[in-house]
């Protein structure tokens, strides 16, 4: 029996960004209790400052060695640092335009900001751990905050129903994930991914091999629910449509980044079992891309179109994940470059697109049918112009980050010999151009019908969000080299065993 209380050694430098982000939420909560009743400006300012500080700290300690700390439950390697920065950026851009939107929607809740920030904390926890139990806890922090935020509008039935549906299916998925983790634990005696790989590398002829396959399948089902892969996507359109638009944008970006970060890490350590999961995930990827795009064609609501588009994009990322799995099995890829690059590109276009859609709100009511966007060009030229950029990037038109991301995935898929997946990706990109074009036409070309359209005034925060996201999309294309070099950089992992 282990004796004495020796706590796990902690490397605070690596943990700091996470702590700053969480602490920002706590400070925001305290301000909410003390603030004047009139506005949320103090909370917004604090949240933005805190996020900026966390990002600055992360960049300042970029070259800090990769250390496995906190009882080996925390790991911040290069990919984790990039994804943490991405999650902070998503939160920052979301907070920038949230206040104007929430005021227009008549939802002046100061608790919105702390919950958003804590949700981001959950995503960061998922991106920085190699322990399945910690990943599960991070996922719960992320999801529980999002359940509440989805139901923020407590006077609207749609928002409440979105929250309920999201909650029930999210909890159902968590149960699958947890049961899967318990079976893997049963087979190996650990929840630490490194140990899992070490054990999997031994010959698989033990009586517990069934546990491994069943555990792996259940965990994949749990993740498939969370990142909305077909056929586990049924909740997505309703939830994306019913939740407040700023929450939808955040959910579509941050929740997917967190879940994919954990998934790609888990599969990376599960390469000894790739014979089982490569065919499974390939089938899911083809199904997800095709169904997502085909159903998006017939939708009439912009938020629903974007929801199905986000399902299709999860399919593209899954192609990248499978390709990375095959390549790393063959030893020809060390980092999931195309996965991370595509997640970055996808996050900016999604947050930007939902920011523009959030303009279709006036006096507490939101209308997001496709023709409700008519006339946005005259009312708010800059966001409408940026909408063209976001749609072009989502469709994968050259000169945008979306194009380069798809190209990287396509190349990886061909390198890995997954020709069917590569073809499915190309065909689906062509199909998707049609509905993105419909959104652009509705925004820019078509004139409003009889009555004047009702749009919110584009405030400075929203314009800033659009500009940041638009710039990021072009920057990721024209200055892709530094980003890719950063992603591909080799690194050494140290284990922190004590002072």
């Amino acid at each position: 029996m282990q004796t004495g209380l020796t706590p796990a050694p902690i490397d605070w430098v690596l943990l700091m960004p996470l702590l700053i982000v969480f602490g920002t939420g706590v400070v925001g909560m305290c301000i909410e209790m003390l603030r004047p009743r009139s506005n949320n400006n103090a909370i917004v300012a604090t949240t933005l400052l805190g996020l900026a500080a966390a990002a600055a700290y992360l960049i300042g300690t970029w070259e800090y060695p990769t250390i496995h700390t906190f009882g080996e439950l925390f790991l911040s390697d290069r990919v984790a640092k990039i994804l943490q920065l991405l999650i902070i950026a998503i939160t920052f851009t979301t907070v920038l335009y949230s206040e104007g939107y929430l005021r227009e929607r008549r939802l002046p809740f100061g608790e919105y900001y702390p919950l958003l920030v804590w949700s981001a904390t959950g995503a960061m926890i998922m991106a920085t751990s190699t322990n399945l139990l910690i990943v599960f806890l991070g996922l719960e922090v992320l999801s529980i905050s999002l359940y509440i935020l989805a139901g923020l509008s407590n006077r609207e039935q749609q928002s409440q129903e979105a929250a309920l549906k999201y909650f029930l299916l999210g909890a159902f998925a968590s149960a699958f994930l947890l049961y899967g983790i318990s079976l893997l634990y049963g087979a190996t005696g650990t929840t630490q991914m490194e140990d899992l790989r070490a054990i999997w590398n031994t010959p698989l002829d033990k009586p517990t091999v069934g546990l491994l396959y069943a555990g792996l399948t259940l965990i994949l089902v749990g993740f498939a629910f969370k990142v909305a892969l077909v056929p586990f996507h049924m909740w997505t359109p309703d939830v994306y449509q019913g939740a407040p638009t700023s929450v939808t944008g955040f959910m579509a970006a941050a929740a997917k980044v967190g879940a994919f970060a954990a998934l790609v890490r888990f599969l990376d350590y599960a390469t000894p079992m790739s014979d089982a999961w490569v065919p499974m995930l390939s089938a899911l990827a083809i199904l997800t891309m095709t169904v997502g795009n085909l159903v998006a064609l017939v939708q009439k609501d912009v938020k629903r179109i974007l929801a199905y588009s986000s399902i299709a994009h999860a399919g593209y990322v899954l192609v990248a994940v499978v390709a990375y799995g095959v390549l790393s099995r063959e030893g020809s890829a060390a980092q999931p470059v195309s996965v991370v690059y595509y997640l970055i590109a996808y996050s900016f276009m999604t947050v930007g697109a939902f920011a523009v859609v959030s303009l279709a709100t006036r006096g507490g009511r939101e209308r997001t049918e496709l023709n409700d966007l008519n006339g946005l060009w005259e009312r708010a030229p800059l966001p409408a112009a940026m909408m063209i950029v976001f749609m072009a990037s989502l469709a994968g038109i050259p000169l945008t980050a979306g194009f380069l991301g798809k190209l990287l995935i396509f190349r990886d898929a061909l390198d890995a010999g997954l020709v069917v997946l590569a073809i499915a990706l190309a065909v689906n990109s062509v199909i998707s151009a049609y509905y993105y074009l419909r959104i652009v036409l509705a925004t820019v070309v078509q004139k409003p019908a009889l009555h004047a359209p009702r749009f919110a005034n584009p405030n400075a925060g929203l314009v800033a969000t659009c500009l940041v996201c638009g710039l990021a999309i072009f920057a990721l294309f024209f200055a892709a080299q530094p980003v890719l070099r950063e992603l591909e950089a080799p690194q050494e992992v140290f284990v922190h065993r004590g002072p």
């Binding site: 359940y147 749609q158 129903e161 309920l164 909650f167 909890a171 049961y179 634990y185 190996t188 650990t190």
Partner: protein, 115 residues
């Protein structure tokens, strides 16, 4: 309880998990669906604890500390209890809020949404 083999516990846990899954799929009342999810979480807890008790780490011979192996399962159960408490507070809050909005909690009658 000496003399009960590990697979008896596992079979029990699989049965509970399956009954919970069926319940989630066939019930209409969100509160009962939520109860079935709690049942599934408890099934996972039971399997964690059974493994923690009986684990001989067949594949991990020598590479892991035995004490750690036995404790991990219990840690999982502690965390799941915290998760369940947080989920229940938020989930029942959402159900109450939606019920106050309309006096009928039935997810199949969500008229404003299409599947």
């Amino acid at each position: 309880m000496e003399g009960i083999p590990l697979y008896a516990y596992l079979l029990l846990s699989a049965l509970l998990f399956a009954i919970g899954t069926v319940g989630v799929l066939i019930k209409r009342n969100p509160i009962i669906i939520f109860m079935c999810i709690e049942l599934m979480l408890n099934a996972a807890n039971l399997s964690f604890l059974a493994f923690a008790k009986y684990h001989s780490a067949p594949l991990a011979a020598g590479s892991l500390e035995q004490w750690q192996v036995h404790m991990t399962g219990q840690m999982a159960v502690v965390f799941v209890m915290a998760v369940a408490a947080a989920e229940v507070a938020v989930g029942l809050g959402i159900i109450m809020a939606i019920f106050r909005l309309r006096h009928d909690v039935d997810i199949d009658e969500m008229s404003t949404m299409r599947g």
